[in-house]
Structures are given as C-alpha cells and as structure tokens.
C-alpha cells in the first residue's frame, strides 16, 4: 500500500469537501473490505482516504412514515441481515445480506461499500495488466479466461456485478441518496451503474467527490419477492449467478414482475423480457421456464462461460417459482 493521508470528517458536507481532490486522487473509506485489498494490490493508489465512519447518523436502519426503508450508508451487512423490519418486510434484502461475504466481512462491510465495490475481475485486479477499465485498450477478460465473467454484454467491460445488495435493491426499486458539493440528489439503483462505454473512468454515476449517504427502499407490501444465488462452494465463494424476482400478483396472475440478475452482467441485469413473459400469466413451472428462457435469450456468453447460461436460466426459473410460493420445481 502506498502512503496516504487519512481524513476524518465530522459531517457529510465536510467529507465531500475533503474528497474534492482537484487532480489528486481522494477516495472514500467506509468498511474498507474492498478498497484496502485494492490498495494492497496497487490497483488503487489514492493519496487521501476520507474516512466516512466518523459521520454521525449513517449507521441507522429506519422505516419512515411513508413505510419506506431508510438505510444509512454505513449500516453493516450484519446489521442488515439481523434487522427485524428488514427481515419482515424486505426479506430478500436481508437474505442477500446474509449470503454476502463472510461473517467477518459482514461485520465491517457497509451497505454503501457493497454497492460501490470495484469490478471483481482477475484482470482488473492485477495491477500490471492494463485492461480497459484501467485505461488500457481492451478488455482482457473478453479474449482471456472469462469463466466467471458476464454472459450479458453491457458496454465493453465483462466483469460481473457481484454486489449482493444491488440485485435485490434494484428489484425493490430502491434509490440511493447521494451527497455532493451541490447538495444531495437521489439516484435510482437502476441508474447507478455505468458501463465502460458510458464512462471509462467510473463504474457508477458518482463523481469522485460524491458519497452515498442513504439507501431508500419503497414499501414492498403486496409484493412477492425471492432472492436466490448459486455458488460453487457452500463456504465463501463469489456467486456464479444471483436472481431477485419481485412479483405483484392479483388472484394468482402476475400484474407486474421485476426480474433482476446478478453476477452475470457488469451491472445488476434487469430482464425486461422475463418480466414481460410473466405479465398477465399465472406462475407455473411452464411460465417460469418460459420467462427464464426469455431472459437468457439475450445472453451472449464468452469463450469460457457458456455453462452460466443454463445455470442462470435454471436459477431464475426456481427463483420465480419461489417468489410465487409455488415450490421450486
């Protein structure tokens, strides 16, 4: 790790000010579970870390009067996993949090950090390799060993989105509250991530001197939601695929569906074809299968990850059935 200075702001506004680097690389430190490893590997070499953990009030889980779930950006994954209101009303989020990382990671890793983790690609994370994400000419995984990478194309980089929370939060249509020099703004989860083509220098819409302060999740009353993932190892392992399915049903028929896949695309992958396939139909083994097939029709697997297509289709089918509560087939 290079030497850096550690700033300890007292307020979000001060944090933003301290992050403003004017050409010097300043970065935010929350739980530290991703950034410290990247710094040890010399993939990131900020000259200043702005420690957000001293910010007051960002570690609270609250349900507001509109029934929305408010998660401070510094809420840990362990807090989220254990919080009664979350387990009750946004259970897929609690389940996803419980599956993220390891107990040790969940005890320090934060909601904000989980959403902002850097691409977990073995080319990106090898400092001597100049992949496109690091300003190089090409995505090395596309032509290299991509067994764990994306099967859905989205703008050049094929590192899969591994954020355990982004998948369910996108399905719950959550938004993040972002604080920057000009005050706060809200960004929908569905708009948070940027492709390499959209922005070669950042993988989210956050500017270097912006921080996530809160995540706001709309009430999920009436929605049937399930989250499932496939990991090769039962112990700590990055998922091969994740799926969150949220169904708004009326008398057994799907009124609206939201289908989000994780670990298979560079961003949480919202499958419109799968949602469309479910709309207006009852959830059965057959309609679930059709929806899953519709989702995977868009897949463009790489040289080494064709196996993820069937695996993801099967996972999605099971997740749809689980959301509908009709058994997992």
């Amino acid at each position: 790790m290079n030497a850096f200075e550690l700033a300890r702001p007292k307020s979000a506004a001060e944090a933003v000010q301290l992050l403003t680097g004017e050409g010097r690389q300043h970065m935010a430190l929350a739980g530290g579970q991703d950034i410290l490893a990247l710094m040890k590997d010399e993939v990131l070499q900020p000259v200043r870390l702005v420690n957000l953990k001293s910010l007051p009030g960002l570690n609270r889980i609250e349900v507001d009067r509109q029934g929305r779930l408010n998660l401070g950006a510094l809420v840990t994954l362990a807090q989220l996993e254990a919080a009664e209101p979350v387990r009750k009303a946004w259970s897929a989020l609690a389940e996803a949090a419980a599956e993220a990382g390891t107990p040790q990671i969940r005890n320090l890793g934060t909601v904000g950090g989980n959403l902002c983790q850097k691409p977990r690609c073995w080319y990106y994370r090898a400092a001597p390799l100049h992949c496109a994400r690091k300003g190089g000419d090409a995505c090395l995984a596309t032509t290299g060993d991509n067994r764990y990478h994306s099967i859905f194309a989205f703008g050049g980089c094929v590192a899969p989105s591994y954020s355990a929370l982004a998948t369910p939060l996108t399905a719950y249509q959550a938004a993040v509250e972002v604080q920057g020099p000009g005050g706060t703004r809200q960004v929908k989860l569905a708009d948070l991530y940027r492709s390499l083509e959209q922005d070669p220098t950042a993988d989210t819409v956050l500017k270097p001197n912006e921080i996530i302060t809160r995540v706001v999740v709309p009430p999920a009353r009436g929605l049937r939601v399930a989250h499932r993932e496939v990991r090769q190892m039962a112990s700590h392992d990055w998922p091969l695929a994740m799926a969150t399915v949220a169904l708004d049903t009326n008398g057994g028929t799907v009124r609206q569906a939201r289908v989000v896949l994780g670990a298979v695309a560079p961003i949480p992958w919202i499958s419109a074809p799968a949602a469309a396939a479910l709309k207006g139909k009852p959830v059965t083994g057959e309609t679930a299968r059709q929806a899953a097939e519709a989702a995977l029709k868009e897949a463009t697997p790489l040289s080494e990850n064709g196996y993820k297509v069937r695996l993801t289709a099967n996972l999605l089918r099971r997740t749809i059935l689980a959301a509908a509560g009709v058994g997992e087939g």
């Binding site: 790790m1 290079n2 030497a3 850096f4 200075e5 550690l6 700033a7 300890r8 702001p9 007292k10 001060e14 301290l18 430190l29 530290g32 579970q33 410290l36 490893a37 710094m39 040890k40 590997d41 200043r48 870390l49 420690n51 953990k53 362990a78 990382g101 390891t102 107990p103 040790q104 990671i105 005890n107 320090l108 039962a234 112990s235 700590h236």
Partner: protein, 214 residues
C-alpha cells in the same frame, strides 16, 4: 527464543500484560506524533492524519501505544508494530496469510465481533475494544473454545487455529447455542489447509454444549 515457551524473552512480559486487570471506559485516541520531523501533532479531532503517529489502541483490555501510519493495518500493528520506545508489540497470534480478507487467519474481535485484522486500518480501531487470540485465554488458563480445540484435536499445523478460535468465540458470544448449520456458517470466513474442519466443527459444538463458549 524457544517457541515452546509462552514468554518472549525480550524484556517485555506479554503474560503479565495480558493478565492485568481489564480497565473500564478507556477512550482510545491518537496521542501525538512519533517524531518531531513530522507535521504538527494532530489531536483526535484533527481532520487529517499523515505519516507516523502514536495511536493508543485498546487491546485485550489494555491501553496499547503503537506507532502507526494511516496505511498500517490493525494486523500489522499487532504483529509488527512497535511502541514509541521501540519495544515490539509482538502479538503474533493473528496470522498474516492472504492479507486480503479471504482466509480468516487474522481474525480478531472488534467490539466483540469477528473481523479480519488485515482489512481494518489500525487508526480505524481507535475507540474500539480489540480482542486477539492471546486475550481469550492463556496456555494454562484456556478459553472453553480453546480447550475444546485441544481435546478434539481441532488443529494440525496450527497456523489457521488462532483465527478459527477467535471466530468461534465471537460466534458463541453472539449465539451461545448454534445449530450445526449455524456453526458452519459462523466459521465460513476461515480456511484451513491441513483439513481439520470436521474436528473444528465438533469442538465448537462441544464448547457450545458445555455452555461456556462465551
């Protein structure tokens, strides 16, 4: 130094240090600059810290002064750190194996919860109670989890063992009567290469059964 002896033979008695009475509400803080050559001394409220500073950590119930930089991890402070007078901290129970939060060998308790000491900055431990494997028990006064590991032969080379012991102690503190599945999940952040898992799971179940895990 003879590794079979718990003392360290360097004029720094770790055993006495560990056995001293735990003090109550000690607020850890930055206590000043390490050398006059550095910029003016920051206080705990100073907005920016750079270069070497002396930090006061709360480790195993004791105030511990250690010279660190912002980039020094808690693990490195414990293992390789030195007090302002140059004496090594020498708490080498937590091991540096992957140094990337993947193996669990450096697990310590952070306010009672297991964390990877390699993935926490030492300066981020200010104000928090740190417990290392050395603080759980000593050779002749083992913690129940440690005792169960001994009895069940839940160790071989022993390099992962401190991490597992601390993770298990943290698990039982939060959940004194875990199911076998909860034990597996609770230890899911730790790896062993010798293959002691079966006996680790037995040992932790045993420590939980006797109700003395926490």
């Amino acid at each position: 130094m003879d590794g079979s002896e718990p003392g360290d033979g360097q004029g720094f008695s770790r055993r006495d240090f560990l056995r001293g009475a735990a003090t109550g509400a000690v607020v850890s803080s930055l206590v000043g600059q390490a050398s006059a050559a550095d910029p003016p001394a920051p206080s705990a409220s100073a907005p920016i810290v750079s270069g070497a500073v002396t930090a006061q950590l709360m480790v195993n119930g004791h105030r511990l002064q250690v010279v660190v930089e912002p980039r020094t991890t808690l693990l490195d402070a414990l293992r390789d750190g030195k007090a302002p007078d140059g004496k090594p901290i020498d708490l080498t129970g937590a091991k540096r194996v992957c140094d990337r939060g993947a193996c669990g060998s450096c697990t310590v308790l952070f306010d009672g919860k297991p964390v990877y000491a390699c993935s926490v900055l030492a300066l981020d431990a200010l104000g928090h109670a740190i417990t290392t494997v050395e603080g759980l028990g000593d050779v002749d006064r083992l913690h129940p989890v440690q005792e169960a590991f001994v009895q069940h032969d839940a160790l071989m080379c022993g390099f992962c063992t401190p991490g597992f012991v601390v993770a298990a102690a943290g698990l039982l503190k939060a959940n004194p009567h875990p199911s076998p599945e909860e034990i597996r999940r609770g230890l899911g952040g730790n790896l062993c290469r010798c293959g002691t898992y079966s006996r680790i799971l037995e040992a932790v179940a045993e420590a939980a059964r006797t109700g003395k895990g926490a």
